[in-house]
């Protein structure tokens, strides 16, 4: 079948003398964390590879079974720590769905603003590191400059910059601080031009094009089969975004486009993410304009005991579909928490995308899949 790459074990006999095994990671500048890729090389051409994951496995799913529903929430920030707010939203959303909590409109708007800011921050970090892997150092520092503004907004809103634990079951931890709206608006005014700046450095650069076009190509059918989601899937032309397909929070109120690619290569995924940043800015501005008055948190009992049952709730995280599958037995602790992280599934496509390419392309492909090991290993 076209979309099943042969398993590593089945291709073991290829180990001839002219095949070199190269360990890339778990300590390597471009594996974005503690990913270990075992490459089998013929010269610099990749014959086969196997991803070895689990170096960052902390057992968050197990920990969550031993915490209360609210007590488990901060752990979820440690999944995709680049986009902690999104993790928090997905988890809190799953608990709310199970417990039947209605979130007040104001909290929904703030949630949308913060998650979209996080999406921009996550994409900025992705762009910076992706460009750096391909050798463009400057973009990295530009991206971090803008990401700093987002972290400042998160800090003034939640008190933390990275692992923010931004939301509570039922709404927000606190009302938005003074100056939040102005600062967010100022950032939105800034970011559009800055994205153009990055594009000016990369989009038409011949070297960038030759390093990203036709690299890591996957067609729509294979992308779905291998479980890609998020920008990696949309780069292959599948117009699927959970914010539109199954709207959560207040997303159905806002207008935005879903950018898609045509060729499913690294360059298309790059363009998709850049456009997503612009769309995120659009959503933030709409959410700011229509910010309702009222409560920032619904009344939720201090000890939350959702009814027995199962729930799957997923959101469109910056990296793809982030879902939480909760099983409740009616007690104060979840019976089972399953985290469906997009990076785990996106990384699965790595082997397919890399075979036949060069070592230099491996780092481009790791970059384009936009993985975070905290979410893969959980």
């Amino acid at each position: 079948m076209s979309n099943t790459a042969p398993p590593a074990a089945a291709t073991a006999p290829i180990l001839k003398e002219d095949v070199m095994v190269l360990n890339m990671g778990p300590q390597h500048p471009s594996t974005h964390g503690v990913l270990r890729v075992i490459l089998k090389l013929d010269g610099e051409k990749i014959v086969d590879l196997d991803c070895d994951i689990g170096y960052l496995h902390r057992g968050i799913e197990k920990i969550a079974e031993n915490r209360s529903y609210t007590g488990a929430a901060p752990y979820m920030d440690r999944l995709d720590y680049i986009a902690a707010v999104s993790n928090n939203l997905a988890y809190v959303g799953a608990v709310e769905k199970l417990a039947g909590v209605q979130v007040p409109p104001k909290a929904q708007h703030v949630r949308v603003i913060l998650t979209e800011l996080t999406r921009i921050a996550s994409h900025l970090l992705w762009l910076g590191t992706h460009a750096m892997d391909i050798g463009a150092l400057t973009v990295f520092l530009y991206c971090f400059r803008e990401r700093e503004d987002i972290l400042n907004i998160l800090e003034m809103t939640t008190g933390a910059r990275l692992t923010t634990n931004a939301f509570r079951v039922g709404g927000l931890a606190a009302d938005i601080p003074d100056g939040f709206v102005e600062k967010t608006r100022a950032f939105c005014d800034l970011i559009g031009g800055r994205i153009d700046e990055y594009e000016g450095l990369l989009s038409a650069n011949r070297i960038w094009l030759s390093r990203t076009r036709g690299i890591g190509v996957i067609n729509a059918g294979d992308a779905v089969a291998i479980g890609l989601s998020g920008p990696s899937l949309r780069g292959s032309g599948v117009k699927w975004d959970l914010r539109k397909a199954q709207p959560y929070e207040a997303y159905s109120k806002f207008e935005f486009d879903i950018p898609t690619g045509a060729n499913g290569d690294t360059y298309d995924r790059y363009l998709v993410r850049l456009e997503e940043m612009r769309q995120a800015k659009r959503i933030i501005l709409q959410a700011l304009d229509g910010m309702p008055e009222g409560d920032f948190r619904a009344k939720v009992p201090r000890v939350l005991k959702p009814p027995a049952g199962e729930v799957y709730h997923s959101i469109e995280a910056p990296k793809g579909e982030l879902g939480f599958y909760l099983v409740s037995d009616g007690s104060a602790n979840p019976y089972r928490v399953r985290i469906k992280g997009p990076s785990f599934f996106n990384l699965q496509a790595m082997r397919r995308l890399c075979i036949g390419h060069f070592v230099a392309d491996v780092v481009a492909i790791i970059g384009t899949l936009d993985i975070v090991l905290g979410e893969i290993d959980r």
Partner: protein
């Protein structure tokens, strides 16, 4: 014993001065690089050690010297120790042939001295030969480390070497044809006679030479043998302390060499720009200043590249060199030769 060296006093003094100057230039090239790239990337670069980080290179030098020197247990010791020297020494030898100033550069005690250590008839050939040896250092270092990433770096070095050497050698042939000499001094003098610097009639050769020069020095966008993102540090992954510093210094010395040769061949070396316009006012400026300015312009270009470009893949580099630059360089020689034949009929 001293009698033996007496006839070479002039050369020896020049060599000592040159070594000091070049070392200082390399040290401050690293400072300049960090500053220029820092400002390109909207940050300040070194600021702590000395005024605007001016003492940073010295601090770095001390750090390199006092660091532990590690030779991996399974490395080939001889090659491992030899490699940095192979890269470092040739990089400095070349400067003996670079004309920093003309034959009558300065007068001390009634005697005129030239602005170079030696003027050799085959200087250009010698320079190109010696700079190629530097790459041998990378290859030996990558091989002797007995580690996979350096090995891949060394492999890339070889691929790169065979690719850029040929178009590079051919690109300067146009200049040689026009000047009628391989001596760097006479090439500059030929530009003086012509009244045109060779970069105009030899624009094609100039561009090819500089692209190949960037490849030779392993700088962005051709820094494949050491590509940090892919090969960790490439050929110097296993090197530390002073041995690493030698590779590092060799790279910067090579940058200066390539820039100096480019300035000599294509930008008129020590000559003043627009002599008819500027000579009345600026004739007091020594030629070495013009030369340094030209070298600096090239070096800035290097740094600018690094701040702007992503990195090519090594097969793409080979494609560019073999499929584009080589045919163009050959065409350039043929056209130049044809024109020279026609003019000297």
């Amino acid at each position: 014993m001293l009698e033996l060296f007496k006839p070479y006093t002039e050369e020896l003094v020049k060599i000592v001065i040159l070594l000091a100057l070049i070392s200082l230039a390399i040290a401050y090239l690293t400072w300049l690089e960090r500053k220029v790239i820092g400002h390109i990337q909207s940050r300040l670069g070194p600021m702590r050690v000395g005024w605007h980080g001016l003492l940073q290179p010295i601090a770095d030098g001390i750090k390199f010297i006092i660091k532990e020197d590690i030779i991996p247990a399974k490395a080939d010791r001889f090659g491992f120790i030899l490699a940095p020297l192979l890269a470092f020494i040739p990089a400095f030898i070349v400067f003996a042939l670079i004309p920093f100033d003309g034959p009558q550069a300065f007068t001390v005690g009634g005697k005129t001295y030239s602005g170079y250590v030696a003027d050799v008839d085959i200087a250009l050939l010698f320079v190109m030969a010696i700079t190629s040896i530097c790459v041998l250092g990378l290859i030996v270092g990558g091989w002797a480390s007995n580690s996979k990433y350096p090995l891949l770096g060394a492999l890339r070095s070889v691929a790169q070497l065979v690719s850029y050497e040929i178009p590079m050698g051919l690109s300067v042939m146009g200049v040689v044809l026009m000047a009628g000499s391989l001596s760097l001094v006479r090439i500059v003098q030929a530009q003086e006679r012509l009244g045109w610097w060779f970069f105009l009639p030899q624009l094609v050769g100039f561009v090819i030479y500089f692209i190949c020069g960037v490849a030779e020095t392993n700088r962005n966008p051709f820094d494949l043998p050491e590509a940090e993102a892919e090969l960790v540090g490439g050929y110097h992954t296993e090197y530390s302390g002073f041995r690493f510093a030698l590779f590092f210094l060799a790279e910067y010395a090579n940058m200066i060499t390539i820039s100096a040769v480019a300035a000599t061949l294509f930008l008129g070396g020590w000559l003043m720009p627009f002599p008819s316009l500027l000579a009345p006012y600026l004739s007091w400026v020594p030629g070495i200043v013009w030369f340094s300015l030209k070298v600096f312009a090239f070096l800035f270009l290097y740094l600018w590249f690094r701040g702007t470009f992503p990195r090519y893949r090594f097969d793409q580099l080979m494609g560019i060199m073999w499929k584009i630059l080589l045919p163009v360089a050959i065409a350039n020689i043929l056209v130049t030769a044809g024109v020279m034949l026609y003019l000297n009929r």
